[in-house]
Each structure stands twice: as structure tokens, then as C-alpha cells.
């Protein structure tokens, strides 16, 4: 095994991790805040992909992809906020019902996409500047994959800045840490919930756009990523943004490096095994939210 091949696989690992980050961040945000598992999250990715397809039909050319990301972010975000207001907020005290209801929504969205766009899938034409590869040493790095990594870094950076620097971000962090107390301080926690659900869905929408660069957009496109996204959230420590990022990179690398030795399906088995073993030794995940104040409970 030569060094270039190994480096290539590591690059692939990071590139896959970038997609997992975009797919898992929304899940982690809403789970961290509301303890809600959104089974329709994969379909929000799918909606983002189709929005990308539609946008690029209307705005072809080199900048179409950026317009697509904006449209997908807003469209998927509104879909998420609507889902929260119409369904999730009514079921907050019933986690199992939320699971079933959002699963129902995922089926409806899949069938809806099948009816509108057909079952075979459509493809998004990536702009020409994403077609090539940048060669570093002997290693060609596909531009599309570099772009996806850049998008993931930009989204992570943007979210971190938003949560650290803005007043709304402060309220989100407060609700995340102690919901009942935040409410008693005058924070409208339901509004914060709807906002974060929408924001998480918007990020998933951007995830859908980058997925569309890698392969055909089908009504099931979200399904192939969502299981791993759930794994990432669990491994990351249920709700921590840093934990989610680290977990996505770990899973991406394990999957890519396992593929050096075994085929793709078996690499997935090994990845699952890795997550199970990791949680045996560290059940709280990568980052556990813990402190003196919470330990006193």
C-alpha cells in the first residue's frame, strides 16, 4: 500500500465526513434542544437536493450552485419550521409519537417527490469549475469534494459564530443547558425550538445540495445518509456541535480506511462495530455535557 493511496483514502474520509456533518448537525441541534428525534430529517436533505435541481434549471452557469444553496437553506428551513409548528411542538411530551409522526412525514415526502419528479431520479449538472481536480503531488483531489469540505467548514464556522456572538445564539445555548430555568428568566423556549428546528433543517437543505453534486437525486437519497447521521449524533454525545463534528470525522475516516481492506458493505459493518465498541467504553459519546451544577442534581 503506497502513501498516496493512503492519503487519498484519508481525504475521502474527510470528504464523506463533511456530508455527515451537514446531515447530522440539524439532528444534533434539535435533539440537544428538544430531545426530539426527527425521522423526516433525511427527507429534508432530499428536499434540499430537489431544490438544487430546480434552482440550477432556472439559474445555470457558474454561480447557480450558490443560488441553489441559498434556496435550499431557506426552503428546507421553512419546511422544518413548519413541521415543528404543525407537528413536533404538539407532541413534545410524547417522544415515541414524535418518532412515528415524523416517520409518517418522511413517507409522505418520499412519495410526494416520487409523484412530482418520478422514481428514477434526476441529475444536477455541476458547474464546470467543479468538474476538474486539483493535483497535489501525485494525488488528484476532485474539486467537487474539496468544495463539499469547504461548505461544511463554512457552515460549521457560521453556526459557531452565530451561537457565540448573537443574542439569539445566547438564548439557544441557555435553553439547551436548562430549559425550565431559561423559561423562568423570560425566554420564549417554544420560539427558540421552532427557530432551531428550522435552522437545522436549513443546514440539512445545504447538505442536500452537496449530495446532488455527487450522484443522482432520487426520492430515497436522504435514506442512504440518515442512518449514518443518527450514528454520528449518538457517537458525538447527543446534541453537542463539537462532538458531532468529531464523530462525523471519526466515522468518515473509519469507513474510508476500512475500504482499503474490505468492500463497501463490509466497511459499513466495521463502522457500526466501531461505534458499538466506542460506546461500550464511553457511553456518553465524544463530548458529554457535564458540569458541577448539573452533577449536583
Amino acid at each position: 500500500m503506497d502513501a498516496a493511496f493512503l492519503t487519498g483514502q484519508v481525504f475521502n474520509g474527510f470528504s464523506v465526513a463533511s456530508i455527515y456533518i451537514l446531515a447530522a448537525l440539524g439532528l444534533a441541534l434539535s435533539f440537544g434542544l428538544m430531545r426530539v428525534i426527527n425521522m423526516a430529517h433525511g427527507e429534508i436533505l432530499m428536499v434540499g437536493s430537489y431544490l438544487a435541481y430546480l434552482t440550477i434549471l432556472f439559474i445555470p452557469g457558474p454561480l447557480g450552485i450558490f443560488a441553489a444553496m441559498l434556496v435550499a437553506f431557506i426552503g428546507a428551513g421553512l419546511l422544518g419550521a413548519g413541521l415543528e409548528a404543525a407537528l413536533v411542538s404538539k407532541l413534545t411530551a410524547r417522544p415515541l409519537d414524535t418518532l412515528l409522526a415524523t416517520w409518517g412525514v418522511s413517507l409522505i415526502l418520499q412519495q410526494g417527490a416520487r409523484d412530482v419528479f418520478g422514481a428514477t431520479g434526476v441529475s444536477v449538472t455541476a458547474p464546470a469549475w467543479l468538474d476538474g481536480a486539483i493535483t497535489i503531488g501525485a494525488l488528484p483531489l476532485p474539486a467537487a469534494r474539496l468544495f463539499i469540505m469547504a461548505v461544511a467548514v463554512a457552515v460549521l464556522g457560521g453556526l459557531a459564530l452565530f451561537l457565540r456572538m448573537t443574542r439569539v445564539g445566547l438564548l439557544v445555548r441557555a435553553v439547551n443547558q436548562d430549559r425550565a430555568t431559561a423559561s423562568a428568566m423570560g425566554v420564549n423556549v417554544r420560539q427558540v425550538d421552532a427557530f432551531i428546528f428550522g435552522l437545522g433543517a436549513g443546514v440539512a437543505g445545504i447538505g442536500g445540495v452537496v449530495l446532488a453534486l455527487l450522484g443522482p437525486v432520487t426520492p430515497n437519497v436522504g435514506q442512504s445518509y440518515i442512518v449514518t447521521a443518527f450514528l454520528v449524533v449518538v457517537l458525538g454525545g447527543l446534541g453537542s456541535m463539537i462532538g458531532t463534528t468529531i464523530a462525523a470525522v471519526m466515522i468518515g475516516l473509519v469507513m474510508a480506511l476500512a475500504q482499503i481492506f474490505v468492500d463497501v458493505s463490509f466497511a459499513q459493518v466495521l463502522t457500526l462495530l466501531f461505534v458499538v465498541l466506542f460506546l461500550q467504553f464511553r457511553p456518553q459519546g465524544v463530548i458529554a455535557i457535564r458540569s458541577r451544577a448539573l452533577d449536583a442534581e
Binding site: R173, D178, T181, S183, M185, G186, V187, S291, R292, A293
Partner: protein
């Protein structure tokens, strides 16, 4: 004059277990009152019910004459109720100044015109908070956290402050500071205070009225000036 707060035959329950029975309680602006009783008689439940963290299962709650029974905690905070919960409940991963800023959310009330910043008097009451402004609340000592929790509630400029055992588990020299600060909150700011307190001596000297609870009911109330603390102690202690 309209009561600042008025509870009429309030009941509350955790699931099927009823904890508060037919509680009536009223306070006027600027008053200080204490809720006394043994552990488990429903004092904390009463505070959570007034704050809106626990929904009532019966009865009515009014703040300044307006019915708030169906309102959530955030709306009651905006109606002017400040809360210092038992166990302090500071936001552990936020800094001291961020914790205080969250308290400003209560200022999103109708007719509030002043600046949305933490009032200077918070730092005047608790000078320590200035020194530790950038530290995470989770690593502070119990006494520091308690000062922060009170400061955070005051940042929302409440007209009624609810305190649930503010001196529990705090070292004695800090207890004195907290008690002094609460006296100033009352006299200088004119904020009404309802306090659950195990230290009967302090409660008695601080409050002008008292409510004694047993098994989820208020069984006796009166003025601290007219009754003897020793008699009440018999009701409160085993």
C-alpha cells in the same frame, strides 16, 4: 390597591400525585413574606407553580390583577416575576455575564422602555460578579453561583422575587452577604420578596408576613411582628 400576586384555591400535581391543595396566598407590592414548613410539604412546588414551571390543576393566579393561570413561565417572567430556583440552576456553560444577559429576556414586557442592559445595581449588590464576569458559571463555588442566580433574576427588573432556599448549602460568611443583599433589594429597590427559607431566625427578621405549610396546604399565616417565632418553630420542625 390591587394585590401584586394573588393565588385563589390553587392545586397542583405531579402526574396523579397531588402536591398542593387549595392554596390561597396574596402579597402587596414591596412586601416580604416567607414560606415555612418541613421538607416535602410542597414549598418548592408552590414556588414552581407561581413561576409557571408547573401547571396548576385547579384555581387561579393573578399578577397585578391580571390572570396568568394559563400563561407559561416566560410570560410570567415578563409580567414581573423573578425566580431564584432551589439549587441555583445557573447555566453552567455560559459565563457569568452571559448568565446575567439571559435574565434580560424578561424585559421583553409590554411598556418596558429602559435600556436592555444588566442594571448597575446588580454589580453594586454583588461586587464579586464583576471580578468573575468571564468565568463559566459551572466552575463557580456555591456562594458565587447563588449571587449570580439572584443577580440574573434581578436583571429582569422584577416586581416580585421568588427565592427557594437561597442559603441552602452555602458557607456561613456568604450567607451573611446574601442576606444583606436581599435586605437592600427590598428596601432600596422596593421589590417584593417571597422566600422559602430553612433558617427561621433570618426568615423571621426579614419577612413581615409568614405562611406555614403542612402536607401541601397553608395551615397558618400571619404577621411576624404579632406571633412568636418559637410557636411557629413547633409547627415547622418535627
Amino acid at each position: 390597591m390591587t394585590d401584586l400576586i394573588n393565588l385563589r384555591s390553587v392545586s397542583a400535581a405531579y402526574g396523579k400525585g397531588q402536591v398542593l391543595w387549595d392554596v390561597a396566598l396574596d402579597m402587596k407590592a414591596g412586601e416580604a413574606a416567607t414560606v415555612l414548613g418541613r421538607n416535602g410539604v410542597g414549598k418548592t412546588t408552590l414556588m414552581k407553580t407561581i413561576m409557571g414551571q408547573l401547571p396548576v390543576s385547579g384555581g387561579y393566579i393573578y399578577v397585578n390583577g391580571e390572570e396568568v393561570t394559563a400563561m407559561g413561565a416566560y410570560q410570567r417572567a415578563r409580567a414581573g416575576i423573578g425566580f431564584v430556583p432551589q439549587g441555583r440552576h445557573v447555566f453552567p456553560h455560559l459565563t457569568v455575564s452571559e448568565n446575567l444577559e439571559v435574565g434580560l429576556a424578561a424585559l421583553a414586557r409590554k411598556g418596558f422602555k429602559g435600556p436592555r442592559k444588566v442594571p448597575d445595581m446588580v454589580f453594586d449588590l454583588f461586587p464579586k460578579l464583576t471580578q468573575i464576569a468571564n468565568r463559566k458559571a459551572g466552575v463557580l463555588s456555591g456562594g458565587e453561583q447563588q449571587q449570580l442566580a439572584i443577580g440574573r433574576a434581578l436583571a429582569g427588573q422584577p416586581s416580585l422575587l421568588l427565592l427557594d432556599e437561597p442559603t441552602e448549602g452555602i458557607q456561613p460568611n456568604i450567607v451573611q452577604q446574601i442576606e444583606d443583599a436581599l435586605l437592600r433589594v427590598r428596601t432600596e429597590l422596593g421589590v417584593a420578596i417571597l422566600i422559602v427559607e430553612q433558617n427561621l431566625d433570618f426568615a423571621w427578621s426579614f419577612a413581615e408576613r409568614y405562611f406555614v405549610m403542612q402536607r401541601g396546604r397553608i395551615v397558618k399565616q400571619g404577621k411576624t411582628a404579632e406571633d412568636s417565632a418559637a410557636d411557629i418553630a413547633k409547627l415547622v420542625h418535627v
